[in-house]
């Protein structure tokens, strides 16, 4: 357990807004081991981005942590000071939309070098001032990672502006930005959804190779089981802010046990002949149903489901599962 690089335990987070108290995360619980690619799957609005920002120490404005811990190698990421030290430096980040993530009026080189400037490299001389020579070191490192993400002519690319690159190239540059500081964990929030299918495939392949080459762990957010199958070692499924099932990719894809996991997978067009969808709607975080939040849409729901939130239990096959109907198998 203690060898986890990232552990999110029992995380409950709510945001006070104009409409009332939104209970966005409700007992999210999973861990990432060094070097592994962990998928985080769930429908739109289930709280994936909120979770990612919270892990980076940037919970939404007005957020309250009701319970739980978020730790990076045992260091508390819910402490803003600690998180500021860790993000960028030890946890890299790849955003969802490469078209929006860059500031359009600065060169890409300036923007990525800025990450290195504030986070530094692990082998930078201790206590060195940020001067020409340090900047040159960082630039050399940046050119190295730009080459690794297959940006042609990286020296020249540094002086170009974001709009002079295609979406795929921009995402490669952002990946380089995440790798540049030699982090041991990268958070990627749907890094391919803004790209066309062919580019998606290339970026996924690149990410898989880089994660292995650099031995970096990755928390990979997606709502696409096809992507999970391609890149993830393990996967954790969320529904409406609750973790419902976590297991290895083959376990989850070949034998989903939580009713939601199975139904979500059935929605995936490549895995079913007809477009099924899940009847009903995701509950609003303002008025979450009691107990299991999936119960109102679940064909197997019974009274037990709504009386208490099912705990996330270790199943005999090694997965974690939060469903009263599956507990007997645990």
């Amino acid at each position: 357990m203690s060898d986890d690089i990232l552990s999110v335990r029992d995380l409950k987070l709510s945001v006070k807004g104009d409409a009332g108290l939104a209970q966005i995360l409700d007992h999210v619980d999973f861990a990432v081991k060094p070097g592994e690619v962990m998928g985080l799957v769930g429908e739109s609005g289930c709280g994936k981005s909120t979770l990612i920002r919270t892990i980076l120490g940037l919970p939404p404005k007005g957020a309250r942590i009701d319970s739980g811990t978020v730790a990076f190698r045992g260091r508390n990421l819910l402490d803003p000071k600690e998180a500021q030290q860790i993000r960028g430096r030890e946890i890299g980040f790849i955003p969802q939309d490469p078209f929006q993530a860059f500031n359009p009026v600065f060169t890409v080189g300036a923007q990525i070098l800025e990450i290195l400037r504030w986070s530094g490299l692990p082998d930078d001389p201790k206590g060195a001032r940020y001067d020409k020579s340090l900047r040159a070191r960082h630039k050399a490192r940046l050119i190295e990672v730009l080459r690794a993400v297959q940006i042609p002519d990286p020296e020249e690319a540094l002086d170009r502006y974001p709009h002079q690159f295609s979406g795929g190239q921009r995402q490669r540059i952002l990946i380089a930005g995440a790798l540049a500081t030699r982090p041991s964990l990268i958070l990627a929030d749907e890094p391919t959804t803004a790209l066309d299918v062919t580019t998606q495939m290339q970026i996924l392949r690149l990410l898989r190779e880089l994660a292995a080459d650099y031995n970096v762990a990755m928390l990979f957010v997606t709502h696409d089981f096809g992507v999970v199958a391609q890149i993830c070692d393990r996967v954790s499924v969320m529904y409406a802010g609750q973790t419902v099932e976590t297991g290895t990719t083959p376990q989850i894809i070949d034998g989903p046990r939580h009713p939601y996991t199975g139904m979500l997978m059935a929605c995936h067009p490549e895995r079913s002949t007809e477009i099924t969808g899940i009847p009903g709607q995701v509950s609003s975080p303002l008025t979450p149903p009691p107990g299991c939040r999936f119960a109102p849409r679940c064909p197997r729901a019974t009274e037990a489901c709504t009386s208490a939130r099912p705990g996330l239990l270790n199943s005999r096959d090694g997965r974690q599962l939060a469903c009263v109907h599956e507990e007997e198998f645990a």
């Binding site: 993000r87 955003p95 929006q100 009026v105």
Partner: protein, 336 residues
């Protein structure tokens, strides 16, 4: 960039021609007789008729306009009926005063507008933000001549800390004429007392002219800053560990300057027209007060030439603004 500059400069020419033609027609069809204005009050009809003949006022209008253009192209803008001097000389005398006033007003509006707007955006919904908003609305709604007179009442007549009118105290020798801008000329020749007085005289007219501009620029800057702070790239910069102050400066701020800079260009037109009223109130010896005199005395040559000069300045300022935008935004630069 150079090609862009040349193209834009050439494009000013048809605009100026149109402006001249419009002014020319309005003056000629307006019913006032420039010959009578030149001849003075005691002129006989024969004298006026002779002047009309001399000036070519009996020619068909197109011929008159063409003659004017030909002379103007050679730098001859005619003689002012009011001052009896060549209009070109009059304008050269008066232009620096207006330039100094509008440039100071523009700098004031830009610096204050951008500062207030940026801080209001950064501290959104704070007391400061609300104050800036209320003051902006008031600033936009205030008529500049009224505000000018209030300033005079309070600071000149009441508190007696700022001079009432003119560019320098009566009888004070102006600095040597290098640029014609008193602030610059007195500074480079080391006449610090003159500099100080020139500055004091500038304060009220410049503040009056810039008032609406400060408000407009502040509002545009504020909304640009708010949008930039809530942008995806600001969220990204935060997520990858930029410190907050770094995100604000330069990343958010530089991005937020693009819109207000456009406004500054547009505002310059408003500044010049407001200068016409403000110069009269403060007795500022610039083109504005010259234009007012010229209009009241049917001094057609002077009106035409001032129109031409103001139009040309407006065109040049807007080219400068576009070039600044190119410097701020590489996507704009690419279209140049």
């Amino acid at each position: 960039m150079l090609l862009f500059l040349i193209r834009r400069l050439i494009l000013i020419i048809p605009v100026l021609l149109g402006l001249l033609l419009l002014t020319f027609l309005m003056l000629r069809l307006g019913g006032n007789d420039p010959a009578a204005a030149i001849a003075g009050d005691n002129a006989t009809p024969e004298m006026i008729e002779r002047i009309r003949e001399d000036l070519g006022l009996n020619d068909p209008l197109p011929v008159q306009f063409w003659d004017y253009l030909v002379r103007a192209a050679h730098g001859d803008f005619g003689v002012s009926a009011y001052s009896q001097r060549p209009v070109g000389i009059d304008i050269l005398d008066r232009l620096p005063a207006t330039l100094e006033l509008t440039i100071v007003a523009l700098v004031l509006a830009s610096v204050l507008g951008i500062t207030f707007g940026a801080l209001a955006g950064i501290w959104r919904n704070s007391i400061f933000d609300h104050t800036v908003r209320v003051v902006s609305v008031a600033g936009l709604a205030t008529a500049s001549f009224w505000f000018a007179i209030m300033l005079q009442l309070v600071f000149s007549m009441g508190l007696e800390i700022l001079p009432l009118r003119g560019r320098l105290p009566t009888g004070w020798t102006p600095p040597p004429d290098i640029t014609g801008l008193y602030l610059v000329d007195s500074l480079v020749t080391g006449q610090f007392a003159t500099f100080w007085y020139a500055f004091l005289h500038l304060v009220m007219p410049a503040v009056t002219i810039s008032l609406g501009g400060i408000a407009t620029i502040a509002r545009f800057t504020r909304s640009a800053v708010v949008a930039a702070m809530h942008s995806e790239y600001a969220a990204y910069e935060q997520a990858v560990g930029y410190p907050r102050r770094r995100i604000l400066m330069p990343y958010v701020l530089r991005n937020s300057l693009v819109t207000p800079v456009t406004q500054i260009g547009l505002l310059f037109g408003a500044f010049v027209s407001s200068a016409v009223a403000v110069e009269s109130v403060f007795d500022w010896p610039g083109l504005g007060s010259y234009l007012v005199e010229a209009i009241f005395t049917s001094d057609f040559n002077a009106v035409l030439a001032v129109t031409l000069v103001i139009g040309a300045i407006y065109g040049v300022v807007n080219i400068l603004v576009d070039m600044t935008q190119g410097l701020l935004d590489p996507r704009v630069a690419e279209t140049m």
